[in-house]
């Protein structure tokens, strides 16, 4: 594939900690991707809309507040409603082990918890985006 992969990196919910999201954004940039960075406190509607306008291949979200079970699936559903379910959705942040199966079930393709090397996230995105 010649074109760069486009990833929306977003912070849904109300926590103000975007260090992790910025580290991931930087790593994806260095892996040759175009990273659209949205900033803090985005609603699921804003994130889905951004992904559509930017024609993103992937939405990568980070949550540290514990609202992941609510917000991650909401973004997946909004994208589905708009016929944009070919956009890969991944999540990261402080997410308890026990919540992961439910999130995967809800359509989040990958969950990356603290300590995951950025190379794992990069490879996952490269290997799983649905559009060639």
């Amino acid at each position: 594939m010649d074109r760069p992969i486009r990833v929306v990196v977003a912070k849904p919910g109300l926590d103000g900690h975007d260090r992790g999201a910025k580290v991931v954004a930087r790593a994806l940039r260095d892996a040759g991707m175009e990273v659209i960075y949205t900033g803090l406190r985005q609603t699921p509607e804003q994130i889905a809309e951004t992904a559509i306008q930017e024609d993103a291949d992937c939405v990568a979200m980070s949550i540290l507040s514990g609202a992941h079970n609510h917000l991650f699936p909401k973004v997946v559903n909004l994208l589905k409603e708009r016929g944009a379910d070919d956009i890969l959705v991944v999540g990261g942040g402080v997410i308890p082990e026990d919540d992961i199966p439910g999130l995967i079930e809800a359509g989040i393709a990958g969950i990356f918890t603290p300590g995951t090397p950025t190379s794992v996230t990069i490879d996952f995105i490269k290997n799983n985006i649905k559009r060639k």
Binding site: E34, Y37, E45
Partner: protein, 316 residues
């Protein structure tokens, strides 16, 4: 997805996809633009340029919000630099435009420069056409943070707003050639800082040397964060537009712009052919070797390549 039908049917996803296809140089995308080209020309195209960190995104955000109050549809194309080393980019202009995300009358697209050097990306032309066909009334193009000579925005915008801030340099900066020559309106942002008046005065002094007696670019102190001066800025945009139309300079400008655009498209096609020659034959390597061995000079080598190019064109 039927892109063309979607584009004409107000489907943002189709418009977004078409912009990507233009960005990736897909021939189907050019075909769609060809078929819809008659629908372009409705949107007013406003360029927002200036050095990094002066507040271009915030100015764009506030202008867009003001226009939305008037019921206008607003498109925004925001360009940020692509890394020349990895091809990656952080496109961060949306951070300052977060509450425009939910507005159905706004379409924002971020782009990496992907190797272009003039402050825009090559695909900005395409993106602007797509948004124009899509029915936007105003299209803002936010350039990368410019230094002194990235002036490609004049090839596209009806009105160029040069955003400055106090304290970037003394008045000798203001008389240098390059970006300071392309502003139709100068906005001194962050004017709650020291020296805002002086910065405006220095720009005014630079403008005193301008030859054009009919139109003198206005200089305006604004504080975009607090929405101060934004309404006035919109008025100045309208005034510039009126002047351009009344004086006939718009027609001339547009004609010049189209000339440049045709030549740019032509040059890209030539380069594509040249790359395919270099990929499919060994001629460039052979010529380089000959120049290396002093059997040929590089000018003659280029002539030979031109022969090859013309032959290639004739055979196709």
């Amino acid at each position: 997805m039927d892109i063309k039908a979607g584009l004409l049917n107000n489907d943002k996803r189709a418009a977004a996809r078409l912009i990507s296809m233009m960005e990736n140089g897909e021939p189907e995308a050019v075909q769609i633009i060809k078929e819809c080209y008659n629908m372009t020309g409705h949107a007013r195209i406003i360029g927002i340029t200036g050095p990094p960190g002066v507040g271009k995104s915030t100015v764009t955000d506030k202008l867009a919000k003001q226009l939305r109050k008037e019921g206008k549809q607003v498109g925004i194309v925001a360009v940020d630099p692509t890394s020349p080393f990895t091809g990656g980019a952080i496109l961060g202009d949306r951070v300052r435009m977060a509450d425009l995300n939910n507005d159905p009358g706004v379409f924002i697209r971020s782009m990496g420069t992907r190797g272009a050097l003039g402050g825009l990306s090559k695909a900005v032309h395409g993106a602007v056409k797509v948004l124009d066909i899509f029915g936007m009334d105003y299209i803002f193009i936010e350039t990368v943070g410019v230094g002194q000579s990235e002036i490609d925005i004049v090839k596209l915008a009806d009105t160029v707003i040069m955003v400055m801030v106090p304290g970037l340099g003394d008045d000798i900066q203001a008389i240098k050639a390059g970006i300071m020559e392309i502003g139709d309106i100068f906005a001194v942002n962050k004017s709650d800082r020291d020296d805002a008046e002086r910065t405006a005065a220095e720009i005014e002094a630079m403008l005193d040397f301008n030859r054009n007696e009919e139109y003198r670019p206005p200089v305006l102190n604004i504080i975009a964060r607090d929405n101060k001066g934004i309404e006035k800025l919109l008025e100045l945009i309208e005034k510039h537009w009126e002047y351009e139309n009344k004086s006939g300079s718009y027609k001339q400008k547009k004609l010049n712009r189209l000339r440049t655009e045709i030549m740019d498209i032509f040059r890209d096609e030539v380069m594509k052919t040249l790359y395919s020659i270099s990929e499919n034959t060994n001629i460039i390597n052979e010529l380089a070797q000959k120049v290396m061995d002093k059997q040929m000079d590089p000018y003659t080598a280029a002539d030979r390549l031109m022969d090859e190019f013309t032959n290639n064109q004739r055979n196709n």
